[in-house]
Symmetry: C2
Subunit: 126 residues, 2 copies
């Protein structure tokens, strides 16, 4: 079984990136991960079901961390704002997904073992 992290507690998940784990930011990252050329602000708002304020706040946090870039411009005299992942953002989101997958596998394996032991012996192993 893979140890979820090397230094801290067995289930401390120290490699799990808190920045992307927050639910609204996970939504934003996934939306942008699945469309390389990015989304404009209104598309992103709909995809993530976020309010203007919330979306702006989380975009700033992700931009600050270098995970996404914000491109502003005009088209037919109308302003637009496009958000897209940076290369770092794309790589770190992939790592985040891998880490998450590991956590699920690990919890399931150990969970099943615990349940099975309970069935056989009437108690679980220490």
């Amino acid at each position: 079984m893979t140890k979820a992290n090397e230094t801290g507690g067995r289930y401390a998940y120290e490699r799990l990136d808190r920045l992307m784990h927050e639910k609204a930011r996970l939504s934003i990252m996934a939306s942008l991960y699945t469309r390389k050329e990015g989304h404009n602000f209104n598309e992103l708002k709909k995809l993530c079901s976020l309010t203007d304020g919330n979306l702006s706040r989380h975009i700033s946090i992700l931009k600050e961390a270098g995970l996404l870039e914000v491109i502003k411009g005009y088209e037919n005299n109308k302003p637009y704002t496009i958000c897209k992942l940076t290369e770092t953002g794309r790589r770190r989101f992939k790592d985040y997904l891998n880490e998450l997958e590991q956590i699920i596998k690990d919890a399931r394996t150990a969970g099943k073992y615990s349940e099975r032991a309970d069935d056989i012996y009437g108690f679980s192993p220490a």
Copy 2:
């Protein structure tokens, strides 16, 4: 491809349980999920690398939500506190893991499609 939720935005992940998604609470839930008879407070503190205050706070939140139970007692004149998942907690954590797995698969599939389209056409499909 599975739609991550039915009513909200495509990436709003409305079925993802915020209660268990918070990183410290995810640690606590996983620790308890993998040991049916539960853990005492100090074991849990080590497994999750949490401070006394943080662990207490998150245990209260999970207890309040009916996901875990706290059993207090004395053994050899020493007080102990055991935390273990309720049946509801166990079931909801399983659901949470399934939901998380779905999100990973979905993001990966759509992410790969986006990258491939970019390679072939020089842009991604709308």
